[in-house]
């Protein structure tokens, strides 16, 4: 083959900075072409998707509301992914966290409890998510089972479990038998930040999480361990770092963050527990983590950008009648381009003029 991939002698700094921009630019071009194929005006479509949502406070608030769970979950996932530990079950941990926190809300519903309820719910949510995430972690550490598959299978289990609870034991007795819990009391609801809007305190928590993760990764021993295990596993082992402890830690933290995102989402924008609380946040967060290059601040930006595409996609459905599936196509393409451009930081493509056949190539 005349084209080969070759490892660079050192990481290319220019590409490291330019990569996300190149990826976004490539995606926009591809999308413009797709719009044209669908018979829509590319300029108008791109404007509706990316620029319009930025033009008024309502949309900006919605972007923040949508980005909050994404950023929180993605930061947790990034800790795992940096260390090459693949937690794919964030969606399940999100649900279990929501369920754990909701338990308290349902128990105290209608009674005259104090303001301690909400912080307690958040704590329970984080705890629930962490414990659920430890299941695949322990399966890996103790039994060597692939954490990708165990964490993924547990997503389905969590979904069915929550479905059972809201249709059975936790169903609102005054809700005409419809499968939701009673509306959470005001003390059990996440407060909004702006009157009339949906922007809520969860956004602030998400920002705090980003800051905490930056500190963790940059300035603590644990953070150093995570980064080292990902970059040079053998060296990490030589230094005496315990890979098992790391697996348990990163899974627990990412599970806690996913669970926290879950209870905040339920106690905030939704207001009660019902069968459909997540449009796939746990999986979209995986994209956000990679888009943000596994860096907390990068994830914040990536989360906001992806939330923008969701909002833009919904606007496009109304304004120019573009199907919502296009947003998924866009997100998939974007992820591919980002991954490819990131690969160019470590590798380069070279043309080989004369191809010398290896000595014994007999297949």
């Amino acid at each position: 083959m005349p084209l080969v991939l070759e490892r660079r002698s050192e990481r290319s700094a220019t590409i490291a900075i330019a990569s996300p921009l190149i990826a976004v630019a490539l995606t926009l071009v591809t999308m413009a072409v797709l719009f044209a194929i669908l018979g829509k005006n590319p300029v108008e479509a791109l404007d509706v998707y990316f620029l319009e949502p930025l033009t008024d406070p309502y949309s900006l608030g919605e972007i923040a509301v949508k980005a909050t769970p994404l950023v929180m979950i993605a930061v947790g996932l990034s800790l795992c992914y940096i260390a090459n530990i693949w937690n794919i079950g964030a969606e399940g941990q999100f649900i279990v966290g929501a369920v754990a926190g909701s338990w308290l809300a349902v128990r105290t519903n209608g009674t005259d409890v104090g303001h301690w309820v909400l912080p307690a719910m958040l704590l329970l949510g984080a705890l629930g998510g962490a414990l659920y995430a430890l299941i695949p972690a322990i399966c890996k550490v103790r039994f060597g089972a692939s954490e990708i598959l165990t964490s993924l299978m547990l997503v389905y289990v969590a979904n069915f479990g929550m479905d059972y609870l809201v249709r059975g034991p936790w169903r609102d007795p005054h809700g005409m038998n419809f499968p939701t819990t009673a509306e959470f009391d005001p003390v059990a609801t996440v407060p909004t930040l702006i009157e009339g809007g949906r922007l809520h305190a969860g956004a602030i928590i998400a920002l705090l999480v980003v800051m905490a993760a930056t500190v963790l990764l940059g300035r603590t021993i644990m953070g150093f361990e995570i980064r080292l295990v990902g970059a040079a596993p053998k060296a990490a082992r030589f230094s005496g770092f315990n890979a098992d402890k790391l697996t348990l830690f990163t899974f627990a933290v990412s599970g806690a963050l996913a669970g926290l995102a879950g209870i905040i989402e339920v106690a905030g924008p939704v207001g009660h527990l019902q069968p459909d609380i997540s449009p796939g946040y746990g999986f979209t967060a995986i994209i956000v983590a990679f888009l943000g290059r596994l860096n907390p601040v990068g994830i914040l930006i990536a989360g906001l950008f992806l939330a923008l595409t969701f909002i833009g996609g919904e606007n496009a459905e109304i304004a120019i009648k573009v199907p919502l599936d296009l947003t998924k196509v866009f997100q998939g393409i974007l992820l591919f381009y980002v991954l490819a451009c990131d690969s160019m930081i470590i590798y380069r493509i070279r043309f080989i003029r004369t191809l010398r056949k290896p000595a014994h190539a007999n297949v």
């Binding site: 005006n41 300029v43 108008e44 404007d47 309502y58 919605e62 509301v65 479905d163 059972y164 249709r167 059975g168 034991p169 169903r171 005409m176 038998n177 419809f178 499968p179 509306e183 009339g196 949906r198 989402e265 924008p269 939704v270 207001g271 009660h272 019902q274 459909d276 609380i277 997540s278 449009p279 909002i311 919904e314 606007n315 459905e317 109304i318 304004a319 009648k321 919502l324």
Partner: protein, 360 residues
């Protein structure tokens, strides 16, 4: 540099034209529809879209419609509804129970926009509710099933144990029992409104267990298609599924929303819209029975007679006395039949159904 200027100007021009064009078209009444499933489900959402198109045709030139499909019944629903309200839609139909709270929240913020929520029970000054009395069609289906079935057992494929589904199961059973008091039913919950693979599997399982008439409260034609394949009979749901079961379909209780939608849109145009609760059935044409096919003439006559009786009000599917499966007589709040409130919150099986309601 020059090239970028030109591109920028072109962009601005495009945006300006679009906005100008959009505002110029604001003379027509903009009506929005939110569907929980795809319009291609050939069931619930499909029928709402049929209604939308019928209304568009009836009020051609005066209205402009937008629809959003596949909107999940979660937090995203509120944003979708609000988006419609913000973009100049003055009448918005939210077509699934799960949109109830989001609809009310948005309605609160936009007092000048009118909302219509299907199958819900909360109203406001600018929120009306509407639903169809499907149970009327179910009663007829039950009677037909009892006449057609040779095994004495009919099958029911259902989604979730909400009152509407339970009342429909009961109505079917009561209809069947009026012909054959020993009729039995086998019920499978697929936990989804729309999952063709699972509905097909459920149909096969029911048939394997001796059922020879199928009915469903799910949205795809999968079960009908399996019935056709296996040579038994079935009832279509929400829409006429004869295309999938030319020899299998007996009838279908289809929803017809077109007249209601046209009426409500006209009310907005006339400035006379008010918040009401509409529960239409066979009498108002909201429930329409698909033509009776694949049955002997005497069964067809019986069905049509029952249909006439229900339409005129002479027969009520839930006429008292009604005994629940534990043997207790249910209190009769509507005179000689159950009242709407009882039907809307039905949480028991009638006598003759052996299963337990899941989650009780």
């Amino acid at each position: 540099m020059k090239k970028w200027n030109i591109i920028a100007m072109a962009a601005v021009l495009a945006i300006a034209t679009a906005t100008f064009g959009a505002s110029y078209a604001a003379e027509k009444l903009k009506i929005g529809f939110i569907y929980t499933g795809p319009i291609g489900d050939l069931g619930w959402s499909y029928q709402h879209d049929v209604g939308r198109k019928a209304m568009e045709k009836a009020l051609a030139g005066k209205v402009e419609t937008t629809y959003l499909e596949n909107v999940p019944e979660g937090p995203d629903a509120e944003r979708s509804i609000e988006q419609l309200a913000r973009t100049g839609h003055k009448l918005i139909f939210t077509t699934s129970f799960g949109f109830m709270d989001p609809t009310l929240k948005v309605a609160n913020k936009y007092p000048n926009v009118f909302f219509e929520h299907a199958t819900g029970f909360k109203r406001a000054k600018n929120v009306a509710t509407y639903a169809a009395r499907f149970y009327e069609g179910r009663y007829i289906q039950g009677q037909i099933a009892a006449k057609i079935s040779k095994t004495g057992v009919f099958g029911y494929i259902v989604s979730f144990p909400i009152p509407e589904v339970i009342s429909n199961i009961n109505a079917t059973m009561l209809g069947a029992q009026s012909v054959n008091p020993n009729m039995k039913v086998k019920i499978i919950w697929v936990n989804s409104w729309f999952d063709p693979g699972k509905e097909a599997d459920a149909a096969k399982a029911l048939i394997d267990q001796g059922v020879d008439v199928l009915t469903q409260h799910t949205d795809s034609p999968a079960a009908m298609q399996i019935a056709e394949q296996r040579g038994i009979h079935a009832f279509g749901q929400s829409s006429n599924m004869i295309k999938f079961g030319p020899h299998a379909q007996l009838t279908a209780d289809t929803d017809y929303w077109g007249d209601y939608y046209t009426k409500r849109a006209q009310a907005v145009l006339d400035g006379k819209w008010t918040s009401e609760d509409t529960w239409g059935g066979l009498d108002s044409g909201m429930v329409v029975m698909a033509p009776y096919t694949n049955m002997p003439d005497d069964v067809k006559k019986m069905a049509m007679d029952t249909q006439a009786a229900i339409t005129s009000g002479a027969l009520h599917p839930f006429k008292c006395p009604i005994t629940d499966q534990d043997g207790k007589t249910v209190e009769c709040k509507g005179g000689d039949h159950l009242d709407p409130g009882q039907i809307l919150s039905m949480n028991f099986y009638v006598k003759g159904i052996d299963d337990k309601i899941p989650g009780k």
